[in-house]
């Protein structure tokens, strides 16, 4: 068998560890062409974390695609009970779905988000559903763009990094931003509601 060159020997094209979500469609194009099918990158955050590629068949070309690196330990410590990040890579777009649970055993919210980036970099879909109480169907809808636009009094972004740019977001940046937002969101839910001032007439109608 032909001896393959290892990464240290420069036998592969070096790649950025952080790839903009839409660029995954560009990187995945040869694989899609070879398989004649879309493929999925799946990242699971949980007690047993794993990442995998789901393909329709065994490819007959070397696979060169960047798998987003997520610091599972860090995000679990930050509050994710579990989550699955699915990246459906198609010839013209990448659909990213994040589903999971954030918080403690008692106080938690469920996340269901859809973020679709066209290969051109345009955003086709951006929505995050945060379910607070599934029994009462109490939820909040927000988007990655909304979260990015939340600012401190100083004008600095509250949840985004200074380096984050909406059109060039990578998977890790989205998760990091969402995590920071959810921490605050959960904290706000745990705070007792401010006591209402008694009505002027003493409550007598």
């Amino acid at each position: 068998m032909q001896k393959l060159a290892g990464p240290v020997e420069g036998g592969f094209s070096s790649r950025e560890s952080k790839v903009a979500i839409h660029e995954l469609a560009i990187m995945g194009a040869p694989l899609i062409e070879n398989l004649e099918s879309d493929f999925t990158i799946h990242i699971a955050l949980g007690k047993k974390s794993r990442s995998f590629l789901k393909l329709a068949d065994i490819p007959t070309i070397p696979i060169e695609i960047s798998i987003p690196e997520i610091d599972v330990k860090k995000y679990r410590m930050d509050g994710w009970k579990y989550a699955s990040i699915n990246l459906q890579v198609e010839s013209d777009k990448v659909n990213m779905k994040i589903m999971g649970r954030f918080g403690s055993e008692v106080d938690y919210v469920d996340i269901d988000s859809k973020f679709t980036r066209m290969i051109t970099g345009d955003t086709a879909e951006d929505q995050i559903k945060i379910t607070i109480d599934p029994r009462e169907e109490k939820h909040q809808m927000i988007s990655v763009l909304d979260i990015m636009n939340i600012r401190l009094k100083s004008g600095d972004p509250k949840y985004a990094r200074f380096s984050d740019e909406y059109p060039k977001l990578d998977v890790e940046a989205v998760i990091a931003m969402l995590t920071r937002y959810l921490k605050d969101f959960l904290r706000s839910l745990q705070q007792p509601a401010p006591e209402q001032a008694p009505p002027a007439n003493g409550g007598i109608n």
Binding site: G6, F12, L53, I58, P62
Partner: protein, 194 residues
């Protein structure tokens, strides 16, 4: 784009090779990909085929060249397999071959978990678990035990005298295992009373 043939090593189909022949290519593939472990899984159900490449904590930093037998669905799913997972896991310690899935030969429904770990010189692990869904009981055996099983005449039951444990091709391993399963389900048609 470079074309590769993931189902052959130097022109020989992988299923016609013993697991020991995968050790060196596995080391090369891991070195090229920057991985310490690469799990490859082929899943066949009656309706679907999928191929998975699974990574542990380290993500690939180089190209991945799959190394996997070209199993035909009809060939693999014959003899009562309803769902089959074939896994070839490449590690720096050796190559693991797993055969898992659901097998049903009326009236016996079983789940199977068969694993062989090929080390540098010999099999380091060899285990077969058979879970009978009807009584929720697990039976354990090994491929070595299957190969050593004899008939009343003293002849080997599932293998030929020329077949040597540890040197069998992947194709032969599957063939012997299927022969054993057919016999096992036949023997266990009637549930024994405790």
């Amino acid at each position: 784009m470079t074309k590769i043939n993931p189902s052959q090593i130097d022109g020989t189909p992988i299923e016609e090779l013993p697991l020991s022949k995968l050790i060196q290519p596995a080391e090369d593939i891991l070195a090229a990909s920057g991985l310490s472990t690469l799990l490859q899984r082929l899943v066949y159900t009656e309706k679907e085929k999928s191929f998975f490449l699974e990574f542990s904590n380290i993500m690939p930093s180089g190209e991945i060249r799959p190394l996997f037998p070209d199993f035909k669905k009809e060939k693999l799913l014959k003899s009562s397999w309803k769902k089959i997972f074939v896994e070839i896991i490449l590690t720096n310690q050796g190559v693991r071959f797993n055969l898992k899935g659901h097998y049903f030969k009326s009236p016996v429904p079983i789940d199977l978990d068969f694993t062989i770990l090929q080390g540098q010189k010999e099999y380091k692990e060899d285990s077969i678990k058979i879970f009978d869904r009807r009584i929720e009981k697990t039976y354990q055996t090994s491929f070595k035990e299957i190969m050593e099983t004899k008939m009343k005449t003293g002849d080997l039951k599932y293998t030929k005298a020329t077949e040597v444990y540890g040197e069998l091709t992947i194709q032969k391993i599957i063939k012997i295992f299927n022969r054993f399963l057919k016999d096992w389900t036949l023997k266990h048609r009637i549930i024994e009373r405790n």
